[in-house]
């Protein structure tokens, strides 16, 4: 019994007896939404999470989070076409977060500090044959090892890396970086067999007694067209051209090189030629710029480097000295048609970059396999046959980028793991997407994107020095902190601070906060003022 005067004087804390939660018709609930970057990443990286770690300067934690999905941060930080950044919500605010540059920063730091990948899982005794040591093959090998399976990795070349090594020029991907990240994977205990071409997969599997097989044979066969030409005419394909360059015995093409095609490979070929003996490199493409399949930024770089493009043109004849091209026009359907107008160019060599096909001859004796349009048909778990042949990378129906190939490897590893356990691969549930409308962007300070330093044009001639530099630690931290953490709490304390009923509490643990529904009146301010949309209102159960 209080000794205070009755009624007019009250003791503190007494209002806790009044449970205003009874006023509530909707309740706020903490949620995790799927950030658009994660959603867009072909390699299935948890980008938001590793940026969250990077923001606090815990780079190793960030890197470890990153390699859970992708063992090639340093490589991807250079050659990925970054669908994550195209999807980034921040683009609607000022500019997308430089995710790729931070990935590269982490990748390079890991190499510099010699961080090693997580050790292999407990041995399952299962053995898997992986054909092709490109991005998808290396990725699947990595993930299989982590699951405890033994891996035999075979490749027809004398080095690992596939197109990362033989397709992508060094000025985009320095070899020491590639070697370092590949070595880390191999160190997990992968049996590597180089210079070994698999002719009959079934035979190979039986002889080796493998429990499952993964095909990451890529697409090495260059498509050719017959160009009327004299015998002396120097015509070769981009794939072998870049391959030879990568092998350090570049063929001599002369001063004037014409590249035929409109893909990234065409640009790589032209830019490579420019760095070798070609004083002028011209791309001939039968459609216009809008229709060019190559990535815009690659074209930009090429043009900066002095490469010229003949739009709406086809090669009509090449006699080794002079190249005759025919102008095209687009019909109403948008297809190119011949115009009958011709033009001459001086040219010493023509490089054909008209796309590649996969060499699937090794599948001839496999019964129940579906090969369609030159690629292997697969299930969502990347399974090609019930017998346990899986496939990924350029050899399956999909866009052909290294990032996608790496994602294939991860997905296939999961599929193979399930297959070896005699299960069906389970699709992992996905959170609802975190959209721009879910954010309260007021709380994010204005911050321009930081650009990576670039090698100026003059210093790009006649060498393969890397063009794009890395970020300093300060810049990387800055860039990481531009992340809006879409749909995932980053402990800004807003909900804790803006509750008019003091019904939000801080707790230790992944959730950070808890709502006391005894007092929450359901006003919804915490939801409106959550910068990243990590709270939502749900109707009360009646």
């Amino acid at each position: 019994m209080t000794k205070l005067p009755f009624a007019i004087t009250l003791e503190v804390g007494s209002s806790h007896a009044n449970h205003t939660g009874s006023w509530r018709v909707e309740r706020p609930v903490y949620v995790d939404r799927l950030p658009p970057c994660n959603n867009a990443c072909p390699a299935g990286e948890n980008i938001q999470q590793w940026l969250y770690d990077a923001e606090s300067g815990s780079y190793e934690t960030a890197w470890r989070q990153l390699v859970v999905d992708n063992p090639f941060p340093a490589v991807m930080g250079r050659i990925c076409y970054r669908p994550c950044e195209s999807a980034c919500n921040r683009a609607q605010l000022d500019e997308a977060v430089g995710i790729n540059s931070i990935e590269r920063f982490l990748g390079d730091l890991a190499i510099e500090r010699g961080w090693s990948l997580p050790s292999p899982g407990v041995d399952t005794g299962k053995r898997v044959l992986v054909v092709g040591a490109g991005p998808s093959g290396l990725s699947v090998a990595y993930h299989l090892r982590r699951l405890g399976h033994r891996v035999q990795l075979v490749d027809a070349n004398d080095k690992l890396g596939g197109m990362m090594r033989f397709g992508i020029p060094a000025y985009r991907l320095p070899r020491d970086i590639l070697d370092a990240e590949i070595a880390r994977i191999v160190d997990l205990g992968i049996d590597v067999q180089l210079n070994h071409t698999v002719h009959d997969i079934e035979l190979e599997r039986r002889s080796g007694g493998f429990d499952a097989v993964y095909l990451g044979v890529g697409a090495q066969l260059a498509r050719r067209v017959s160009i009327p030409s004299g015998d002396s005419a120097r015509i070769l394909d981009a794939v072998s051209y870049l391959h030879q360059v990568a092998d350090d015995n570049p063929p001599l093409l002369g001063r004037r090189v014409v590249v035929y095609g409109g893909g990234d490979t065409a640009l790589d070929a032209a830019r490579t030629a420019r760095r070798l003996d070609a004083s002028d490199a011209v791309i001939v493409y039968r459609r216009n710029r809008e229709q060019m399949p190559a990535h815009e930024e690659e074209l930009e770089e090429a043009l900066k480097e002095g490469i010229t493009v003949r739009w709406l043109s086809t090669i009509n004849h090449f006699d080794g000295e002079r190249l005759v091209i025919e102008k095209m026009r687009l019909n109403e359907k948008g297809f190119p048609e011949p115009t009958g107008e011709f033009e001459e160019l001086g040219a010493d060599a023509v490089v054909l970059a008209l796309g590649q096909d996969s060499d699937l001859s090794l599948l001839e004796h496999v019964p129940d396999i579906a090969i369609d349009d030159g690629v292997v048909g697969i299930s969502p778990a990347m399974m090609a046959t019930k017998s346990g042949i899986f496939a990924g990378g350029d050899a399956v129906p999909s866009e052909r980028t290294a990032t996608i190939a790496i994602g294939h490897g991860k997905r296939a590893a999961r599929g193979i793991d399930a297959f070896l356990a005699g299960l069906d691969a389970a699709e992992l549930p996905r959170h609802k997407l975190a959209e721009f409308e879910h954010l309260n962007t007021w709380y994010y300070s204005d911050a321009e994107r930081t650009r990576r330093p670039e090698l100026e044009i003059a210093r790009r001639q006649d060498n393969f020095a890397e063009i794009v530099g890395g970020l300093t630690e300060e810049n990387a931290l800055f860039e990481a902190r531009r992340c809006l953490s879409c749909g995932n709490c980053f402990e800004c304390d807003n909900c804790f601070g803006v509750c008019p009923d003091n019904a939000v509490f801080k707790i230790d643990g992944p959730r950070h906060y808890e709502i006391n529904y005894d007092f929450c009146k359901g006003c919804g301010i915490c939801v409106s003022e959550c910068p990243c949309g990590a709270i939502e209102m749900v109707p009360e159960e009646i």
Binding site: L10, E55, Y444, S445, L484, F496, N502, I525
Partner: protein, 341 residues
């Protein structure tokens, strides 16, 4: 570990706190050990801006005085919803006397403390706009004129909400209240009336006058902190949206307050001894329409017939404030913090 400045961009200093900010750069409200001066269980409406403003201000004052605080409260919503027998939501020493006398009561408390030599105990008086600009004005003016050692805080929700949303001397033009209905050729409250209370306070030449909103905690708390560093009469005018009286969504309370500032309709500034010393610049300039159209009390300006003419007049007021206070200044609000390298 070497310390060097790194721009902190993610949420900068705009959010309540942030795991990456140094304690000193976070708000009092981000601290689990804040005093919760106004505690759970009060009977304010859902999304009450006054409940927020009161806790923000008094928690900050509690930190500034190391808990040596006494609060005096005028009659009004805040008093009614916080202390209906047998429950009080106040965790601090608190006294309610009457509607119109909070400043004088606070003067009495301050005098008693002075006599008893308790210099470390400080006094805050709080009232709504009615208790400040109308019925409490006489006592407030006297308190200012005598420069009594009291921080007076006005929680301005621009009408008498406790009694059912009647017009006060702080009700803005065109706003609908129970006594300024949205009918006739000039619906809502008339133009050219009401009191610019911060200016009136400044006219007394008191050491400190400031305005703030519940939308910017850092700003609000800094001002309370500053006020508590000064002795003598101080005045803090906080805009606290009222979902009930303004006809805004309960979840929009802070948004509405933010727009009031970002339109220029509610200039946020500081003044010492009658002279404006600082303004909080507009960060993302907004049109008054954006602010008015989410409030039911201005619904008659956007219904049929719409009244763009009246909206334009209100925009003029905002534009005047922007020009008068120079509200379009630099907005960089970077915070320096240490990182290990």
């Amino acid at each position: 570990m070497t310390r060097r400045p790194v721009h902190f961009y993610q949420v900068g200093s705009f959010a309540v706190g942030n795991r990456l900010l140094d304690e000193v750069d976070r708000t009092v409200q981000s601290d689990s050990r804040r005093s919760d001066s106004l505690d759970s269980g009060h009977r304010a409406c859902q999304g009450c801006g006054e409940a927020l403003g009161a806790r923000y201000a008094l928690d900050a004052a509690m930190r500034a005085t190391k808990g040596q605080l006494i609060a005096v409260n005028a009659t009004g919503c805040l008093e009614v919803f916080s202390t209906p027998y047998p429950e009080t939501s106040w965790r601090i020493a608190w006294l309610h006397s009457l509607f119109g006398n909070a400043p004088a009561v606070a003067t009495g408390v301050a005098a008693a403390l002075k006599v008893k030599g308790q210099r470390d105990v400080r006094v805050v008086a709080q009232a709504g706009d009615g208790g400040t600009v109308d019925i409490g004005f006489g006592c407030l003016s006297g308190m200012f004129e005598r420069n009594d050692d009291v921080l007076f805080i006005c929680y301005d929700n621009e009408a008498y909400m406790n009694t059912g949303v009647q017009r006060s001397g702080a009700t803005p033009p065109a706003a609908r209240t129970a006594t300024t209905e949205s009918v006739g050729p000039q619906p809502g409250n008339v133009f050219g009336q009401g009191k610019d209370m911060p200016r009136l306070a400044m006219a007394h030449g008191i050491p400190y006058v400031a305005t703030a909103t519940v939308a910017d905690l850092h700003d609000l708390e800094n001002k309370v902190q500053r006020a508590m560093e000064i002795h003598g009469a101080r005045y803090l005018h906080i805009l606290v949206p009222c979902p009930l009286g303004w006809g805004s969504a309960s979840c929009d309370t802070i948004k509405v307050a933010r727009l009031a500032k970002e339109t220029g309709l509610f200039p946020v500034f500081e003044a010492e001894h009658g002279v404006v010393t600082a303004v909080s610049p507009i960060r993302h300039l907004a049109s008054v329409e954006e602010y008015l159209s989410i409030q039911g009390r201005y619904g008659h300006l956007f219904g049929t017939p719409a009244r763009p003419d009246i909206v334009a007049r209100i925009q003029q007021i905002a534009d005047h404030n922007i020009a008068h206070y120079g509200l379009l200044g630099d907005t960089s609000r970077d915070v320096t913090l240490a990182v290990s390298v």
